[in-house]
């Protein structure tokens, strides 16, 4: 038996380090690694489930091709690659290479993902997507304000006196953070949750403010007004480091009484909350990503930012606005969110006209050339992209779709050809984290089963077949030694980080500020924290100041009485992991949750099938009556596969956020009814 140190590369805050015990190419055990101070107790249930996932009998380990009858048939790797060469070659010759869509999701992070770029560039360019389904509105809001995106190291949270968890549910989506939150609480810190739902995180809190979905910006503006009116702000900090205070002060017009009308929070409680923030520092705000997946999402985050800035809760221990910490993303030439923008890589021969948020509609509306083929890796757009019906139609229109995946996902089922994808233990890679400050190495520890190849090797073999002129420096030859050499070369120039060091232990990002902005230097145009941002106005056409734009529903939308929320849960990373046996056994059955009052009004009982619908589409799912859901809300986690009653995107219109090219997932209303 051998033991290795590795790290989890999923799209998750925690990016846990863990030890893995291996024997005869089998994963035996997953154990914690205490050397990573952010995740000393080890990974969550999903990380533990790799024992099953890597060796799952459901895993696709041979290429599959769709027959004329619509079923999949196993074929050899060589035949599969020949088919791809012929199909893509012909489509490129007939329609041009840009008739092919190269779609990448966030299924597995790592530097080796860049190798795909080299292939498709050599291929002649493709159509790719811009924007991001997850978090860019908030990222852009933070970037506009601070100039860079970082926060204190996770373990500094224990020094806070007040923690405000605003639209985040770390008990399920960032479970290692709970240890620090409780650590702070046991030292006397007050824990406040602001959320439309009673989340499992709220079970750990002192206070829960149940806002109406989408109104958080109004709440923050009212609190900011109370802070200023009651002189609870840090004048010195504002004078030295903040641009736009006077403009902001004049613009603040939402009183607590008005905010009560908008948010549902009584004005006296808004004042109470303001006093806590103003008087009980240091304050750390932990904003989630859900509240920025709205048409007013970027401005909402800018409103929340005011509270940290006005009270001087920036650049100090126990304080901060912990949206994302990109300090470990040192290898990126262009950091998020800038890398998401359509014009970010002008020199690349990609034509970026396809919006992530409006994937289906944009695919259908693409001409000269029309889209004829797609290559999908690390993603599940049929399930996870907004407006499922249009996405399905767009993919059905294609002549040839390749999906690289480990399982028969809802997207893989749409493929003409499926290539089996590597698991996390089957190729070496280097990953950063958007929460912890570590750069980590993820070694190859087992041989892939069957005919599984990592994408880098698929691309190498395909490049050979297509006679593409591309050097081994860009697409390394097969073999993990070559990948490690490629990685070594990729990180030269960052002298503080070497591959050997990374193999020893996780490495703190060079230049790390454990206390973000402790130097009080901000990479904004003015060099100060910008509450007034000209860039916001010029780039996005929004107000240079944070403001609250109310939720405006059309009369058509008003017919659907429920707000529809699609959170993430502890048992999944979006659409990953939910298919595993161990996850099914230890988690509640997927269900759409509704409040007891709404349920009794519609004679719905737990366990019954109900139809959820609106003008975009419909789905049928098992109902669960929950005390955690206030009246007027319908809650169904995203990422549940179609066959389990999931597919929230049937009900979600493809729309972008105000800034950052994100997807406005949470702006949809629905109606429900019993299915008898």
């Amino acid at each position: 038996m051998e033991e290795f140190l590795t790290a989890c590369p999923r799209n998750c805050y925690s990016t846990c380090s863990f030890r893995v015990q291996v024997e005869n190419d089998r994963i035996l055990r997953i154990l914690p690694y205490s050397g990573n101070l952010a995740t000393p107790e080890g990974p969550c249930i999903k990380g533990l489930s790799y024992i099953e996932r890597t060796h799952s009998p459901d895993r696709i380990i041979h290429p599959l091709i769709k027959t004329t009858s619509g079923n999949f048939k196993e074929i050899s790797r060589n035949v599969a690659l020949d088919v791809i060469r012929d199909k893509l070659g012909t489509i490129k010759e007939t329609y041009g290479s840009k008739s092919i869509l190269w779609y990448r999701g966030s299924g597995m992070s790592g530097l080796t993902n860049e190798i795909g770029y080299s292939f498709w560039k050599a291929f002649g360019g493709t159509t790719i997507t811009y924007g991001n389904l997850c978090w860019p509105a908030g990222l852009e809001a933070v970037r506009l304000t601070f100039g860079s995106i970082k926060h204190n190291v996770p373990w500094d949270l224990e020094n806070a006196k007040t923690i405000i968890i605003w639209g985040k549910n770390p008990a399920e989506t960032n479970i290692q953070e709970i240890a620090f939150i409780i650590g702070a609480k046991e030292k006397g810190c007050r824990i406040i949750v602001i959320d439309p739902l009673r989340t499992t995180t709220a079970d750990k809190a002192d206070m829960l403010f149940n806002t109406r979905p989408g109104t958080d910006g109004a709440l923050a503006l009212a609190i900011a007004k109370v802070l200023i009116d009651n002189n609870l702000i840090d004048h010195e900090f504002i004078a030295k480091y903040v641009k736009g205070f006077d403009e902001l002060k004049q613009s603040l017009h939402i009183s607590p009484a008005e905010a009560e009308q908008i948010t549902g929070i009584p004005s006296e409680n808004i004042i109470e909350l303001a006093l806590i923030i103003g008087e009980n520092g240091p304050v750390t705000i932990l904003p989630g990503y859900g509240l920025q997946r709205r048409k007013n999402g970027g401005q909402t985050i800018r409103c929340l930012l005011l509270l940290s800035v006005l009270t001087g809760n920036i650049g100090k221990s126990g304080s901060g606005f912990n949206y994302a910490n990109l300090q470990s993303y040192i290898f990126d030439d262009l950091k998020e969110p800038l890398s998401y923008y359509p014009d970010s890589e002008k020199d690349m021969p990609f034509r970026r006209t396809i919006s992530m948020a409006k994937l289906g509609a944009d695919m259908l509306n693409t001409h000269n050339p029309e889209l004829k083929a797609a290559w999908i890796e690390r993603g599940n757009p049929i399930l996870q992209s907004p407006d499922t019906n249009s996405v399905k139609k767009a993919f059905s229109n294609l002549r040839f779709t390749v999906v690289v995946d480990q399982f028969m996902t809802d997207t893989a089922a749409y493929a003409d050809l499926i290539l089996p994808a590597k698991d996390i233990f089957e190729q070496s890679d280097i990953i950063g984290s958007y929460w912890s400050p570590y750069i980590q190495f993820k070694p190859k520890v087992i041989q892939s089963p069957g005919e599984v190849l990592p994408e880098s090797e698929i691309y190498f073999l395909l490049a050979k077949r297509l006679n593409l002129n591309v050097s081994n420096e860009l697409i390394p030859e097969p073999g993990n030694d070559n990948i490690e050499r490629w990685l070594e070369k990729r990180i030269t120039g960052y002298s503080e980080v070497t591959l050997n060091q990374l193999k020893e232990s996780p490495v703190l990002a060079p230049g790390l500020q454990q206390i973000a902005f402790e130097d009080l230097k901000f990479e904004t145009p003015s060099g100060k924290i910008e509450l007034y941002s000209l860039e916001a106005k010029e780039k996005w056409g929004i107000s240079p100041l944070a403001d609250y734009t109310g939720i405006i529903h059309t009369p058509e939308e008003e017919k659907f009485p429920f707000e529809f929320i699609t959170p993430n849960t502890g048992s999944r990373i979006h659409s990953q992991f939910g298919n595993l046996k161990i996850i099914g056994e230890t988690n509640p059955e997927p269900a759409v949750r509704i409040s007891p009052l709404d349920a009794s009004n519609r004679s719905i009982i737990t366990g019954q099938k109900i139809k959820v619908f609106n003008k975009t589409g419909e789905l049928i799912c098992r109902a669960e009556i929950s005390n955690r859901v206030p009246t007027g809300l319908v809650v169904l986690p995203n990422g549940i596969w179609f066959n389990e009653g999931g597919g929230v995107n049937h009900l979600i219109a493809g729309e972008e956020t105000d800034i950052g090219y994100g997807a406005a997932f949470h702006d949809n209303r629905v109606e429900i009814e019993r299915v008898d």
Binding site: C44, I51, Q176, M207, N210, I582, P630
Partner: protein, 439 residues
């Protein structure tokens, strides 16, 4: 010093990593570790507490002492209580005995399965899979330092068994403050059913009821000096014995069930039944009067042992002096069949008081009201017949009388409550909910 689980409920968010790690490490088909949540429905105004629990490897291991087959043993190095599934007959008596709901019935293997503390890992100085996997540090394993700590939940089974578990955080009495108040329109989460589900007890009901009748028949025949029917009587014993097999997961291993006579009331009950059945049958078939006396004595002992099986595990004292106890029933039947009025009135009065008391204690709107009412009514039929008409041979009366006793036995199983963590949570939650409503 003793080692055990150390738990901080503040850090437990019910993520189930502990439970999953246990299954992944050991390949169970059941869940030996589970999260018990106080206020699992997240009712407002009541704190919500998660508790991760598997076996606590108690110093006084009632699972082990009660096990009729001696399938449990204590591992010497770690002190872990280990269940040998190859010896388990799936009688599930340990599930009654354990207040922590640790033994789990594996419906695939038809035996019980239980946490073994990953003892082979512990011996090599590693951690159990569950505590090693806890991502928040809520569940740890190590030296217990405060065995008498008062940091314990009001709904945790009392620690007389000396479980190897310790709590490091005080129970939090302040519930979450929700703003705005009353935003959650809560459903009534009170359970609508009282008592246990007795479907799995059906074979036990038949077994114990027929044993009661057999013993009563033998004693009555002694009093009357008439031998019971030669074929019918042994047949009833045969059916009783046969019925008792049905609740076992592993019927072919049932011979093991008398291997713990020293400690297990269940072993003793089974042994007594076998002896009684043999002696009584021989005496009836071959008409040996001396053996009738012997089997009467053995029969009474058997009934006391049957009752002791339930009293042994009855932490809620739910069936002490229950009208459906086999010994009491047998006395009533004997006095009726033998036509001795005074003892009949005495025993019937005890039964009446006990039954009316149950009817009063359990709410009148309960689902079992009908059965309780019938039970009382059926007691009056033989009473009137015997006392007013001095008659005890009317077949319809005997039938109604025995039906009443059968209902009593069924009620015994409904009322029998081997209090464990689940029932304790429910009870405490009911009290707390009522208190909040009154405020």
């Amino acid at each position: 010093m003793r080692k055990g689980f150390i738990f901080n409920h503040n850090k437990c968010v019910n993520c189930n990593a502990c439970s999953a790690a246990c299954i992944l490490e050991n390949g169970w088909t059941v869940h030996p570790r589970n999260i018990f949540t106080y206020n699992s429905q997240a009712e407002g105004l009541i704190p919500l507490i998660n508790l991760s629990l598997a076996c606590n490897h108690c110093e006084s291991a009632v699972c082990m002492n009660g096990c009729p087959t001696s399938a449990y043993s204590r591992e010497t190095v770690t002190g872990a209580i280990i269940l040998d599934e190859l010896k388990c007959i799936g009688c599930r008596y340990c599930q009654w005995n354990c207040p922590y709901d640790a033994p789990r019935f594996d419906s695939q293997n038809k035996t019980v399965a239980k946490c073994h503390l990953c003892y082979s890992e512990l011996i090599e100085n590693r951690q159990p899979a569950c505590s090693s996997a806890c991502p928040t540090g809520a569940l740890k394993f190590g030296q217990l330092t405060e065995p008498d700590s008062d940091k314990v939940f009001s709904w945790f089974p009392d620690k007389k068994l000396n479980p190897a578990i310790e709590f490091t955080a005080n129970q939090n009495h302040t519930p979450l403050k929700i703003i705005p108040e009353n935003i959650y329109e809560e459903k009534d989460t009170k359970p609508d059913k009282e008592g246990r589900n007795i479907t799995t007890d059906l074979s036990l009901i038949i077994f114990t009821f027929l044993a009661t009748i057999s013993v009563a028949t033998i004693i009555s025949s002694l009093i009357k000096g008439v031998f019971p029917e030669k074929i019918f009587f042994p047949l009833i014993l045969l059916i009783a014995g046969f019925a008792s097999f049905f609740h076992l997961g592993k019927k072919l291993r049932s011979w093991r069930s008398v291997r713990n006579l020293r400690n297990s009331p269940l072993s003793r009950e089974i042994a007594a039944f076998i002896v009684f059945a043999l002696v009584a049958s021989v005496s009836v078939i071959f008409h040996i009067p001396g053996l009738i006396i012997a089997s009467s004595v053995i029969g009474l002992i058997l009934l006391l042992l049957i009752d002791s099986v339930y009293i042994y595990t009855d932490r809620s004292k739910s069936v002490i002096l229950h009208s459906g106890q086999t010994f009491i029933s047998a006395l009533l039947i004997v006095s009726f069949i033998s036509g001795i009025i005074l003892p009949f009135i005495f025993v019937a009065f005890i039964k009446l008081v006990s039954s009316v008391h149950s009817l009063y204690v359990k709410k009148l709107n309960s689902t079992n009201f009908g059965i309780r009412f019938l039970r009382i009514a059926f007691l009056f039929v033989p009473g009137i017949s015997l006392i007013l008409h001095n008659s005890n041979t009317d077949r319809p009366v005997i039938f109604i009388f025995l039906m009443g006793e059968l209902l009593d036995r069924i009620l015994f199983y409904i009322d029998f409550n081997p209090l464990n963590i689940n029932t304790l949570i429910d009870n405490k939650l009911n009290i707390e909910r009522d208190e909040k409503k009154r405020c």
